[in-house]
Subunit: 482 residues, 4 copies
């Protein structure tokens, strides 16, 4: 069946059926129905304000929009009859409100309407995504406190490097996600403008009250340039970029945990309810969720490439290529939030195996840097100290010894600076607590950072409440007209 269309005046022929199917976006943009209806309600109120829609008409339009919303949410409208969500709303409205429905497109084009829908969507999901990150951060803090005394080997080049506290490790991800929230908040501000009034590309031919619309739709600003508004998708790319950074950092966390979960490392134990088995190897307990998240990070990176490639070299202003943006946006958004939600549950259920970690730390010369630092404190210059300790370790490796096993006289062969206080200086706890710089892993600093992180989370939660109030609600808009 041919779809209902709103632009038929100039075109003589019926559309080709395959063409109809190919150009229809309803399968994708139906997800924006709430935004489209909310935006249309606000716009109708605006048109009423300047007299294009009469006081008697506005009531019918608003209650008609409510009816459409209820129909859609209860599955009573067949999306397939329509080309896109804008046409659906206008045509369904005309069935309810008659001729006056034809007015809601006055001075508005699908070109500015879709931007509004996308902005409203993104503002809303930025909050959701931020909440998901914040939930993950809270678990990281809980775990940090639970393992406040657990020492853990930090790796560089996938080689044991230096001892750190488990919470120091966890907080390194807290920081990464904190930056992601910051980006999301910046995204929120950068899509906080009224696009209505841009119409097709040149601006609207009606003196719509932009100030009023801005207030109803809770925007901070009125968009600046109609050609830019209708022809850009920068705010969508920005959001997808933020999502790709969330996934990038998640993928690194997953990689760590997959390795720490291997039998060879055995540092963490992922709860069985988040593992899967093998259809052929009965012994396996696979960290599939973490692997899938890593896979999904590739999907989201690709989504970013899609939208960048889509927009590259596109001539001004609106081109239909841009219709593909929603598919890309919804994919990146869903993959990221699904991943955040499940990852938070996984990490919550994961425990660190203190005894396995302790055993592992006995080897690997994690205290080597501290041994060199000992010599420096005694008067050696750093580069020489580094060389001396390097030679001692070589000797240890060749003779299967640990640093602490070497008698003082042996050590003195390498440097006269060695004294009996050397041995306590290379206890793991000493190594930890010697890292006194603000960003270091000393217990003291880590406790300070946990405290600061809690303050941060509280701040984010408050900010999120404030941001929520900057999302327009359909019910509020229509009730204000009663």
């Amino acid at each position: 069946m041919e779809k209902n269309k709103i632009w038929k005046g100039r075109i003589n022929k019926k559309s080709d059926i395959l063409a109809d199917k190919f150009t229809a976006s309803i399968d994708i943009d139906k997800n924006l129905y709430m935004q489209d209806i909310t935006g249309s309600a606000a716009y109708a109120v605006g048109l009423n304000n300047i007299g294009i829609i009469s006081d008697s008409e506005i009531k019918g339009i608003l209650s008609g929009l409510k009816e459409i919303k209820d129909k859609i949410s209860s599955g009573k409208i067949d999306f397939e009859d329509y080309e896109d969500i804008h046409s659906l709303v206008e045509i369904e409205l005309s069935k309810i409100a008659g001729e006056s429905a034809g007015k809601i497109h006055t001075g508005r084009s699908r070109n500015d309407q879709i931007v509004l829908d996308e902005i409203l969507f993104i503002k809303e999901v930025i909050i959701k995504t931020s909440e998901n990150i914040s939930d993950l951060q809270k678990i990281l803090l809980e775990k940090s406190e639970a393992y406040i005394d657990t020492v853990f080997p930090a790796y560089t080049h996938m080689q044991k490097a230096q001892p750190v506290l488990v919470p120091h490790y966890l907080l390194s991800y807290f920081e990464k996600f904190q930056r992601c929230i910051k980006k999301l908040f910046e995204n929120f501000e950068s899509c906080d403008f009224l696009p209505l009034g841009a119409a097709a590309c040149a601006g609207s031919g009606y003196a719509i009250n932009s100030k009023l619309l801005k207030d109803i739709l809770k925007f901070k600003k009125i968009g600046s340039n109609s050609m830019d508004i209708t022809g850009s998708r920068d705010f969508i790319i920005d959001y997808i970029y933020s999502l790709s950074m969330i996934m990038l950092n998640l993928s690194r966390f997953c990689e760590d945990l997959i390795i720490y979960n291997s039998q060879e490392f055995s540092y963490v134990d992922i709860d069985e309810s988040f593992c899967t088995g093998s259809s052929i190897m009965p012994q396996k307990k696979n960290p599939d969720i973490l692997e899938l998240i890593k896979g999904k990070s590739a999907v989201v990176t690709g989504n970013l490439v899609q939208i960048l490639t889509l927009m590259k070299g596109l001539s001004s202003t609106y081109n239909r290529d841009m219709q593909e943006d929603k598919k890309i946006l919804f994919s990146a958004h869903k993959e990221t939030n699904d991943s955040l939600e499940i990852f938070t549950k996984v990490i919550k259920s994961t425990t660190f195996d203190r005894s396995a970690i302790k055993k592992s730390m006995e080897s690997g010369f994690l205290e080597a840097t501290d041994a060199a630092d000992y010599l420096v404190r005694k008067g050696e210059n750093f580069r020489s100290a580094h060389n001396i300790v390097g030679k001692i370790i070589k000797y240890c490796l060749e003779n299967s010894l640990k640093l602490k096993d070497l008698p003082l006289e042996k050590l003195k062969n390498y440097s006269d600076y060695f004294g009996s206080d050397f041995y306590s200086s290379i206890y793991l706890k000493s190594c930890i607590n010697s890292k006194v710089t603000e960003c270091g892993t000393s217990t003291n600093q880590v406790k300070i950072k946990i405290k600061e992180a809690k303050i941060n989370i509280n701040k984010i939660e408050k900010d999120l409440i404030i941001l929520s109030k900057r999302i327009p609600k359909f019910e509020e808009i229509i009730s204000n007209k009663d």
Copy 2:
């Protein structure tokens, strides 16, 4: 509800519901049900051959598989109850065939099974994609013959460069798509191997008759290395790469046509049944389909990035990250084939506007190269000839003249080589027919190329019939056991 699983022995706890949802792939891999059932039938026949499945059991299994296939194709199985398509088939089969269903996984893992499913899928769709390209090529040839005499300006740097025949232009895309078919055929060969026998990653612990399985499933080769088979997706990446090249070339064709369809160029007229209007600007007749294809080419490029990023740095052998491959594959496949199909219809309905083209060619000095070539034929060296004609054109531009408007004595001021035969040498037809090299646009050469292209298309069609015979059919496999 918790999904049915086939790997529960070792895992104590119930899965987390969200984890179940997150790891399930049934939404995506249900598209492979036909391949999975076909592969399972073949494998069951193989197990029967070596006595693991008895003669009495095999009948029940095969008819059970047929029943499942029929149920699925008529929508009678609720996919949501299952984790993936492999589990669905095994568990549904156990409902029909009882205990013997438990045998079809003997010596087979989901790790080799999914590779088989994907190979069968890709072999099939390579043929479909090739047919779609071939259909497009046929239309290009039809159009080439219809416009065999139409001269057209070739552009470099989006500037008129030299006259060519419209069929010469169309054949430049024929060539591009010919290369794409070549790639697809190479893809077909590179995924033409039996993966069964690889099992989880080390090979199967049962002496399955690989030779027999290869023959039933119509493969040319038996896979070489179980770790490689279960841990690689190179054949999928190869196919997605080919798709991205198809879309890249389509995107260029679309860009050309969008520009040629602009009012300023007006070289082509896209049939109205493939255009859309504007919701606000009644005069518009927009080439949306071409724009959408251009957009979709960005999507497919991104799909390639997704699969490359997914596999980069992945440790041997199977990792669950790889589950995301199907989503990516299906996207790239669908976008490309949808685009090919609709583009073929668009191009078929599109006409070249001979009079607009003719008018446009009056300006732009398209004959400049031929003017220089004229001087060279008379004895000038090329670099000087190029300079002389450059100066003449500068003069023409400053005086709003065309080359042919200059009297001979004027020309002689620039070079003594000019003679009265100059004027006929710069007729557009002369320009065309002077391009006598094998790859040039002379009418003669173009006619030869059209003839060769037809031969090519015939060859492709025959090759495709041969390839089709290398796809195993479920009905055939089960009927052979009757």
Copy 3:
């Protein structure tokens, strides 16, 4: 020759020569020599502050660093002798300052040192990039004022849509670049932290005075977590993302101008000093620079993919994969700034051809939306108005008429709302000035926007001066110690 190395203690064998060459980064990171020397000077001052470097040593170290800086800037050091810039500075310093040079690595690792170098580099080039954008914006404003009265067709779908003012078009890019500057400023803040003190990954074993170092190096904050500091490159990715958005928007501007520069459009005239000719076609005047910028936007998008793919799934903390980040960063930075600088010169030299534009606007029914708006103002509902005008245009097209050619009685056949005031309502100037919304193209609004844009540019310039003061200068650091 084997390169000089600073880490040889533990490794027995000489490095393989090819391995040396492969791992060396000096070819790339030599570009950071100024940052490395500045950072080392600041760090030495810090070590002096806590007594690790004595008052007598510090003078030798600082003057040694100055000597190295002078040697490098006058080409007197052979980079090839060294592995990386850090080793070069330390080893060269030991030649001048002797043993005390061995102290400047006390409590510092190349892992935090390289982050400092990169941060200092990025903070500096963010300012440079912003200045380049600001210069471009100024030219856009100059041009906007020069063409304040020139009407121009806006395009959607590469089809004439509605008349706009040339400055309205130019300001649509002003807006895009304004967002880019905003991103750059956010990047500046997100890399404004002291990474020193992080050392290898666990924090420094020396009580370095971070507060002092922060002040000397003019940072706002001290980095939070040593594992995050040494193991992340988010601030680099953020900057490359901003560069890719600058290039994306430039690529669109270039695409517009390439098309407008075609003979068929002829809207703009790019000065010959920015065009190139053809080696074979004497008539060509090609907009090569614009094409190259478009090409370079693909390069920068690819740079973003490189850094994202590089970091994806990388385990904590520093891994040598990350060494490739600088090559990617420098490429993206250079391509973008080269493009910005030359594009600004091109656009400055480009003129709009008023008469060609005027001629072009006679056709294309650019006033169609206004005709529909006319009917709405008279009482028609918009959807009907749209349909009516669509039918009239169809009639015009079939009879080669323009809208203004239709007599009133003819118009009245379509709608009784038509009156004699219709004709003036579709003058181009009327169309322009009817677009009264804040973001619309009415002369009034455009003038307001130009005024606002000027204020914006002034603000940016002031901000940039403030930012410049947040870049540490080597001379200042060493002179403070005199």
Copy 4:
């Protein structure tokens, strides 16, 4: 200084200096000088054949080209004076051969000339790249034979899965690289056509003897369509795609080895001459080369994105955007071949630690699949066998037992099928040798595969010799004219 140019006729003004610098490609395309000179020599011979260049002129031209080649190879030409390599050769030639140099561009454009240069370059480096892969494969075979008896745990999901032979693991990469060589050979064929005769885009206006040129330049075919030849870069994209697949597979190999080189795994020992130390942690022996290769695989993936994005939506035929292709090509080519060469040396110097591997295999229940297979052989169906063994393993884990520690009566509690022959069936050697499928890890199969691999390598070496003969040599071309 303004650069020398060959296209100045039509352009009045001097180029802007910055524009000159921006558009110049000599920095990049100087790498093609040998190809450009060889192609020019062949073309001159062709022009001599049709009388455009006289017999007396051809000698001067060829010896002039030889002189230029010698000058360049001995560093006597300052590239900076020129715009690109084509101009350099033509202008330098005119200094030597005078006026006749002006003829070598007769009927040739930089548009077809650059395609020839790139084809000649790629044909040559395909051979080099293939040789590098083949060298790596040979080392893999050497190592395979050296460790023919060493059992090794295969991993899925980074968890111990099943025992395999080390050579089985190594051969899994042999296979991957074998596919890469196959792709490279296909690339060779797909760029094996004569592009000359295409000229600017419409074909050459001179009856050049394509057959002769094809033979001199050793091509199999003459290019088909001048617009396609000058406007496509498909063969370059294909080659870069192959490079990205080589790097993808290398990155996976590196990831394996980095993990196997960790202290926790300790399966491999990378020779110290290929490791680097830490500037702060004296105990480190880091696998930097492997990490860098992984990083470089991200660079090459990005190169593929660059060239795909560059060409997407580019209108026919040549556009200057395409100039960026060489930078991308050279990057991908160099990174890949540098990585292949060093990786081959690294793998050659790497040993597998038999005792560490053996120790590791004692835990992890690698024999679990074989235990299930044992039950199947005794009569159990596979799904039940899988469940039974799963339960036994759970019991073992809870009681810190190994499978072989369980007494028979305990086993019989789980299944009556267990007998005393069970214990020998789960020896690692038994597990290995039970994998009898063609692609499986049984010693027998692996030995067959090694033999096949050797045959393959011999075949590749012979094929490479044949391919080498399809590269034209400059000396040969000029000596044939003596």
